[in-house]
């Protein structure tokens, strides 16, 4: 029984918790609120009371279960090995079954499911965004701030929507002369609509390594925003669409440059489709050949070092939670950075600490998300670097927002962009 189907599925997981409170030492939300309900132990207790029938699922319970960035720091600090990420997913799914989705999320997730409407909305957005968003002069990228507060504050900085989506910019199959592999690229929404620069870097680096890139047009949102908020129905629909899109095109491997996307392909699709033998088998097959781009470049290619040009950057690396704790990928991005001539890697204090973005969490809890971000921004500032590298477009958005609001000069990039830059420089020489 999957965590998405019933709260009973986590009974044993709940019993493992001995209420020691070690999760308090690492929970980014608890550090800000200092309220027991913010930390894993508090929410585990609530889930226990619901399961024992002492209390019932209320709308208020749903609100409390939304207080988690799913950063999984508590998992790693738990002496009893409690998988709190599973508990929170089950609790949120139960909240949706009993109390329904919060209306703002409902609209967003419905849009995500309806790909064409979403595409149109985003494209129309890129034309009309000037009305709602105000450009911010920035040396590195096109950024904007909300002109009016629509409930998420005016602090947050957004990247401007791209004029052309990544997937419309490239053909479905990008050929190379003598391909050593054919790789499917799952772009994810943020890279397709906002950070097309990351997508272009992924494609450039793969081509540089003689890899044919396939970008199925019919791929969809990964569904993680839906599944982590308990909207299991939407998440299942998206999982099926993605599996079919890539199965139709075929590939030796699948790469993602987004930590949510990676988690989706490696773990979540299979869990969501557990009850459907055929689709489960398909999900498992693709899970086995899904890789984060840094993992793929280090272990599968391995990427060529000749032709790397000099890139003079002082770089600090922020670990996306779902890449580091979620997929165990932490050394690989650093290895890539260290192999680039001219790059000096300077570690920040607690690189694995959550940035507070956590997808829709930052929309539902903008103040809390901002407070968590402020700590990260301060840690970045003390490294006295000029670049933050990370492995997730959502983290990139949050870090950019933090850096912009703190007002210091620091470029925020995906690791693969710095590698692409190095190849580019190498070609010129």
């Amino acid at each position: 029984m999957s965590v998405y189907d019933s709260l009973d599925s986590i009974t044993e997981e709940l019993h493992k918790c001995m209420k020691c409170g070690n999760c308090m030492a690492v929970c980014p939300i608890y550090k800000e609120t200092r309220q027991e309900v913010g930390v894993a132990r508090g929410k585990i207790s609530l889930a226990e009371y619901i399961l024992s029938g002492e209390t019932e699922m209320t709308k208020g319970m749903g609100d409390r279960f939304s207080l988690c960035t799913t950063c999984m720091a508590c998992n790693t600090n738990c002496p009893c090995g409690v998988r709190f990420d599973k508990i929170i997913l089950a609790a949120r799914a139960e909240a949706v079954r009993k109390k329904g989705l919060q209306s703002a999320k409902k609209i967003a997730f419905t849009a995500l499911k309806m790909q064409r409407v979403f595409d149109f909305g985003m494209k129309a957005g890129s034309i009309f965004q000037g009305i709602a968003l105000k450009n911010i002069p920035n040396r590195h990228s096109k950024l904007a701030r909300m002109r009016v507060d629509v409930g998420i504050g005016k602090e947050k900085v957004f990247p401007m929507l791209s004029k052309k989506t990544l997937r419309s910019e490239f053909p479905e199959v990008i050929k190379v002369k003598t391909p050593k592999m054919r790789v499917g690229f799952f772009t994810g929404c943020m890279i397709n609509y906002f950070y097309t620069d990351i997508g272009r870097a992924v494609i450039a680096v793969l081509r540089e390594n003689d890899i044919e890139v396939v970008i199925p047009k019919s791929q969809a949102c990964c569904g993680i925003p839906a599944s982590v908020n308990g909207d299991v129905v939407s998440a299942r629909t998206l999982a099926k669409r993605n599996l079919r899109a890539f199965e139709r095109m075929g590939a030796d491997a699948l790469v993602v440059a987004c930590s949510s996307g990676g988690t989706a392909w490696k773990h979540v699709f299979g869990e969501l489709l557990e009850n459907d033998h055929e689709l489960k088998a398909l999900a498992d097959k693709w899970a086995k050949k899904s890789y984060d781009i840094s993992e793929f470049l280090i272990h599968q290619v391995p990427f060529k070092k000749e032709g790397l040009g000099r890139v003079a950057r002082k770089v600090t690396y922020h670990e996306p939670c779902h890449l580091n704790r979620g997929q165990g990928i932490s050394k690989e991005p650093r290895e890539i950075l260290k192999s680039i001539p001219g790059v000096e890697l300077i570690e920040m204090k607690e690189p694995g600490r959550c940035c507070g973005m956590a997808g829709s969490f930052s929309l539902v809890h903008p103040d809390l998300s901002g407070q968590i971000s402020d700590r990260k921004t301060a840690d970045i500032q003390t490294t006295k670097t000029d670049t933050v590298a990370t492995g997730c477009p959502a983290c990139r958005l949050q870090l950019q927002s933090g850096v912009e609001n703190a007002g210091f000069d620091e470029e925020v990039l995906h690791t693969v962009q710095i590698l692409a830059e190095s190849y580019r420089v190498g070609r010129k020489n």
Binding site: K19, C20, G60, M61, C80
Partner: protein
């Protein structure tokens, strides 16, 4: 349920955001870290931002007879923060500032919501150390730690929390703010109320500021691990080390059940048939550490250690301590409920206590692993069980009773570092007799005649 005017007055003093009244929040203050304990939901949770607010809250509580349960992080193991009579939980977590580190007087002044590790990090910047180091050092608050007088691994050489508390600001049960002690080493003015409030588990007053003693951080340290095939030999080694005038910073023991569990869990390279493992760390000036390490090594060998490992550097040191650090997690993952006791005996009685615990485990057919601070006689017999199994839990309670009886018979005490709270209240008679318990009660009633502060803990109201 509290009357509406009580809540209104609390909101007036603290502001809406610092008064929690919704069920979903209240339910998360119904428990603490104590295993197999009934939970009780409070009627309100308040989080003051200043001493004045604490005093105002106490006055409101006094006027309306609302019990006050002061709480830090809720990591205690005695049911010390469970609001058994409902009423108000007073969360001290917003009072979390380190007010001063005074390098000339070697003191620090902190608010009660400061996490112990945060104080240590601040002290370390000045080359100083706050020695008490309970297992919850990264989560527990200073206020909670002082109230429970927590111990830790360094007790043998450095003592426990009470040896480091020099001054306290207290809000009394009548809402008056008082100060006791201060930064002076010597102070015999009046009764020693700093000593009384330390370890009083929040039953006599509410701590709002703490002055602690700091010490220079030791320059060097050296760790070693010794394996014994006989508990008595390990016991003799402990005694011999002390007799030779070496006081290690830590001297820990793991029994056979713990060793087997840990070894299956982390593969630290311990022999599965070992009867006891001693872990010892000496610290101080480099020269002293060198001398003492050699001495301890010789003693361990003389007393029959079958295997001896000495850490050459910090990396090796971490490896040696892996076994000890993994003891509780390894045991906790074996079964869902972990009943961790802290009955304490004079250190010379450690082998007797270990053997008695093993006998009790067999008698009640339970899994009991024992590890702990052998150097100061504070053992942690840990019963791994499942609280859903009512029949087994009966045997657990009988075994706990007998562990306490044994500790007292060996000249020890009910609790070395976890406190009485609710968990051990019924055993107090056995250690103090009726006259002793009556004296505790008279102290309670002198300072808190209405049983307003943490009622239902340590002493019972008639």
């Amino acid at each position: 349920m509290l009357a509406r005017e009580v809540l209104e007055e609390l909101v007036r003093v603290l502001g809406r955001e610092n008064v929690l009244t919704e069920q979903e929040d209240l339910l998360t203050y119904a428990y603490d870290a104590t295993a197999a304990m009934k939970h009780h939901k409070p009627d309100v949770v308040v989080a003051p931002l200043s001493t004045e607010q604490v005093a105002d809250v106490v006055k409101i509580a006094l006027r309306y007879h609302v019990p006050i349960y002061t709480r830090g992080s809720g990591t205690n193991l005695s049911g010390g923060t469970i609001p058994v009579e409902g009423g108000m939980v007073l969360s001290m977590l917003h009072l979390n500032k380190i007010l001063e580190v005074d390098q000339d007087n070697l003191t620090a002044t902190v608010q009660p919501g400061v996490i112990i590790q945060a104080l240590n990090d601040e002290a370390a910047k000045h080359g100083l150390l706050y020695p008490p180091d309970p297992g919850t050092v990264t989560t527990a608050t200073m206020g909670g730690s002082v109230s429970e007088c927590s111990g830790g691994l360094r007790g043998l050489k450095y003592g426990v929390t009470k040896h480091y508390i020099m001054g306290l600001q207290m809000v009394l049960a009548n809402g008056e703010v008082t100060r006791w002690g201060g930064k002076t080493v010597k102070n015999v003015t009046g009764y020693d109320l700093v000593a009384l409030f330390t370890g009083a588990e929040g039953t006599l007053g509410i701590i709002t500021e703490i002055i602690v003693k700091l010490i220079p951080a030791p320059e060097a340290r050296k760790s070693m691990l010794a394996v014994f095939d006989d508990v008595d030999k390990a016991g003799r080694a402990i005694a011999a080390i002390i007799r030779n005038k070496v006081i290690p910073a830590t001297l820990e023991i793991l029994d056979n059940v713990t060793i087997q569990t840990v070894e299956n869990f982390v593969h630290a390279g311990l022999p599965m048939d070992a009867e006891a493992v001693l872990l010892c760390e000496v610290d101080g000036y480099k020269e002293v550490v060198q001398r003492e390490a050699v001495l301890v090594e010789r003693i361990m060998k003389e007393e029959g250690a079958v295997q001896l490992k000495i850490a050459k550097d910090d990396k090796e040191r971490d490896l040696l301590w892996l076994a000890r650090r993994s003891a509780l997690p390894a045991l906790a993952q074996k079964r869902p409920t972990t009943v961790l006791e802290d009955a304490t005996v004079p250190r010379s009685k450690i082998p007797d206590m270990l053997k008695a615990i093993r006998r009790i485990a067999t008698k009640y057919n339970l899994q009991i692993a024992t590890f702990g601070h052998a150097g100061d006689g504070n053992l942690h017999p840990t019963i791994i069980t499942d609280e859903r199994d009512a029949e087994e839990m009966k045997r657990v309670h009988l075994a706990v009773d007998e562990i306490f009886e044994t500790a007292l018979a060996l000249g020890g005490t009910l609790s070395g570092e976890h406190g009485i709270g609710i968990a051990k209240m019924k055993y107090l008679n056995r250690e103090f007799g009726e006259a002793g318990v009556a004296a505790l009660k008279r102290i309670k009633e002198a300072l808190d005649p209405n049983y307003l502060l943490n009622p239902g803990k340590i002493v019972r109201r008639d």
